[in-house]
């Protein structure tokens, strides 16, 4: 059945391979692949392996054989409640960062005097480490901090406000570190929207709210979703501030703290890996859900330089 129509390719093997994307440029992948294998794939697989090697004590307490750690995670309220506690911090923080960035980024699109100074001030906290932020918060907003002292002094309050070492403290810290990220991302998404679209909407009789609601927002929405996902992941893995300006054993008992407790205080690497893995799973669920919603939106060109 040697086909007459089946013509043998006459190009060289090298040419045919290149046609299928196999050429020397593939070597550029090597450094990245090595790093990914050594620093991510191997440790990650190793961690998964650890989770199914529970300690004898765990197996005895929770049962479930090699899955004792997972049984413990879902059955031990002290551990499992941390999922909700982390969500209660990360979701509002991410939502606030995204929603607060939109109007600021909108205003900062226009040229005006002092714009660069203002932008720098807004982005500056990105350079502060979380520990520095936490320390600053303690000094500024603690019971003996400047803020409370000033407010007491001028008689606005009778006793110090409890702004740190609780849920609020961690929330402040998440906003301080997360907002610049969200603001920068949303600014760049906004600059990708062709300004003549808004001008066109103006000449068609749309006021500022209609222009925002009907033109800018729909074009910005995919960017908002991406920004939300990134700031959410950032906030979800909160650790230093949850410990330093939070209530580590109470309302800010976040998952990373629980993993650290298993690892550092109980020397139970297997349980620590299990909690870490579950952290990843919860983040993945939120990310997939948001990106799923995003796929329903218009994602084509926005006409601008972006």
């Amino acid at each position: 059945m040697s086909g007459v129509g089946q013509q043998r390719a006459t190009a060289s093997l090298r040419h045919r391979l290149a046609e299928r994307g196999v050429d020397a440029a593939l070597l550029l992948l090597v450094p990245g692949l090595v790093v990914a294998l050594a620093l991510f794939v191997y440790p990650f697989s190793y961690g998964i392996g650890l989770t199914i090697q529970p300690t004898a004590a765990m197996q005895e307490q929770w049962g479930g054989g090699i899955f004792a750690n997972y049984v413990a995670f879902f059955s031990d309220p002290f551990v499992f409640d941390s999922v909700g506690l982390t969500m209660r911090l990360a979701l509002p923080a991410a939502l606030f960062n995204v929603l607060a960035s939109v109007p600021v980024a909108m205003v900062l699109r226009h040229r005006f005097r002092g714009k660069r100074l203002l932008t720098s001030l807004l982005v500056l906290p990105i350079t502060l480490g979380t520990v520095l932020t936490a320390q600053g918060l303690l000094i500024f907003a603690g019971r003996q901090g400047w803020l409370n002292r000033t407010l007491l002094e001028i008689g606005l309050i009778d006793e110090p406000l409890q702004l740190v070492n609780n849920y609020l403290g961690v929330m402040f810290s998440l906003v301080i570190t997360g907002f610049p990220f969200a603001f920068l991302l949303i600014s760049s998404y906004l600059s990708g929207i062709d300004p003549s679209l808004e001008q066109a909407a103006k000449t068609l009789g749309a006021g500022w709210w209609q222009r925002f609601r009907r033109i800018v927002l729909p074009l910005l929405a995919p960017g908002l979703a991406t920004t939300f996902v990134l700031t959410f992941v950032l906030a979800f893995s909160v650790f230093p501030s949850a410990r330093l300006v939070g209530d580590a054993m109470g309302e800010t008992r976040v998952m990373s703290l629980m993993a650290f407790r298993a690892f550092g205080e109980q020397n139970d690497y297997a349980m620590a890996s299990t909690i870490a893995l579950m952290m990843g799973a919860v983040e993945l669920i939120v990310v997939v859900a948001v990106l799923g919603l995003r796929s329903l939106l218009y994602r084509g060109t926005t006409g601008g330089k972006g």
């Binding site: 062709d194 003549s196 679209l197 001008q199 066109a200 909407a201 103006k202 000449t203 068609l204 009789g205 749309a206 006021g207 209609q210 009907r214 033109i215 729909p218 074009l219 218009y298 084509g300 060109t301 926005t302 006409g303």
Partner: protein, 379 residues
């Protein structure tokens, strides 16, 4: 559609950081007129359009619609339609929804919006594409959507900012006809910005030629084409040969000039031409001649004879010949100047020739452009 008598611009100006992008623009536009603002980039024509649309605030002057000031109104309350160079279609909305946008902003009932949108879309012949997104359309189709979106509101004035400059040459011709057809059939009043003189001449009832933020000349296409008042306008109107010269003598509206850049006896060839504006011997001037007005005489054999008195002749040599279908564009090198002419037959490259033209087709303008007083010619 136009529901006004006249639109008046009085001394309209716009400054950017101490530089006048537009100054002293006086223009009265009557209902139903098609006015083109013509000039190179940076001449202020787009600034003028944006000021009219309200997208740029004025720094000087006022704009009156039937005597009512409108330059203080925000763009969304002026009721002008605008077609942008980049089309500026809303990429996330279908063709229908793009066209419906302005009607929805007016809060019209659904049924009326639907019927007017359908009408506008069929007007620009896009019925089968109504449900598509702009990204799925070709450039010409997108431009038609942009036009439909502007005219569906029955605006008192339609502003077009270089609407054809992103289209290829053939499509540009088609769309040009289309725009003129819509203007006439809908009874629109249109202000059209372009840098393309051919577009302006073929579309407009009246042309406004601009330079460095100022009006150079206003007139009908015929007036501008036949009697430009400055070499700058002449340059735009197809006088491709603009040559620096000095007046030798003047008499009865004519001037004899010397062209220093050309070959020929002494200080260059001498030509006689029609003087535009007051000239005196010794003045620095510019001579403007259209390529098609030149007559090429090769070694004693004329390729045609100048109708009327010859202005004199410039000797040179053929250096470039381009095929243009029924005629040839010929570049003739004379001295350090290249002259452009047109001939029916292709001359030999390198052949010695001389160029001549009828006296009334050789225009002599004062060198200085600022001396030209912009004059308004009634339509």
């Amino acid at each position: 559609m136009s529901d006004f008598e006249s639109l008046e611009l009085r001394g309209v100006g716009r400054r950017f950081g101490g530089v006048d992008a537009l100054s002293g623009l006086d223009l009265t536009i009557k209902s139903g007129e098609f006015v083109a603002l013509l000039g190179p980039s940076g001449c202020g024509k787009s600034t003028a359009l944006n000021c009219l649309a309200g997208l740029l605030p004025l720094t000087h002057g006022e704009i009156l619609l039937d005597g009512r000031r409108i330059d203080t109104l925000p763009p969304e309350r002026r009721g002008f339609g605008m077609v942008f160079q980049s089309y500026a279609l809303f990429p996330h909305l279908s063709v229908e929804k793009n066209v419906a946008f302005g009607l929805q902003m007016q809060g019209l009932p659904r049924a009326e919006i639907d019927s007017r949108v359908r009408e506008a879309i069929s007007l620009v012949k896009l019925g089968e594409h109504a449900k598509k997104l702009p990204g799925q359309l070709s450039g010409g189709q997108q431009q038609r959507v942009a036009i439909a979106r502007a005219v569906v509101l029955e605006p008192s004035l339609v502003l077009m900012d270089e609407p054809l400059s992103n289209l290829d040459a053939k499509l540009r011709l088609d769309m040009r006809t289309e725009i003129r057809r819509l203007h006439q059939s809908l009874g629109l009043t249109t202000i059209y910005v372009t840098h393309d003189q051919e577009e302006a001449l073929s579309l407009a009832d009246r042309l406004v030629v601009m330079r460095e933020g100022r009006v150079q000349q206003v007139g009908t296409p015929d007036e501008l084409y036949e009697s430009p008042t400055s070499w700058y306008v002449a340059d735009f109107m197809g006088y491709r040969n603009i040559l620096p010269a000095t007046v030798v003598s003047t008499s009865a509206g004519e001037a004899v000039v010397e062209l220093p850049g050309t070959a020929g006896g002494g200080d260059g060839a001498r030509l006689t031409g029609r003087a535009v504006g007051g000239l005196a011997a010794g003045d620095d001037v510019r001579v403007a001649i259209r390529p098609e007005d030149f007559v090429l005489v090769s070694s004693g054999v004329s390729a045609g004879s100048p109708t009327g008195r010859a202005a004199g002749s410039i000797p040179g040599a053929v250096s470039v010949v381009e095929y243009h279908g029924r005629e040839h564009a010929v570049g003739v090198q004379t001295g350090d100047t290249m002259l452009h002419a047109r001939t029916p037959a292709a001359p030999q490259v390198g052949a010695p020739v001389s160029l001549t033209a009828p006296v009334e087709r050789v225009l002599v303008f004062p060198e200085a452009l600022d001396a030209v007083v912009p004059q308004e010619v009634a339509a």
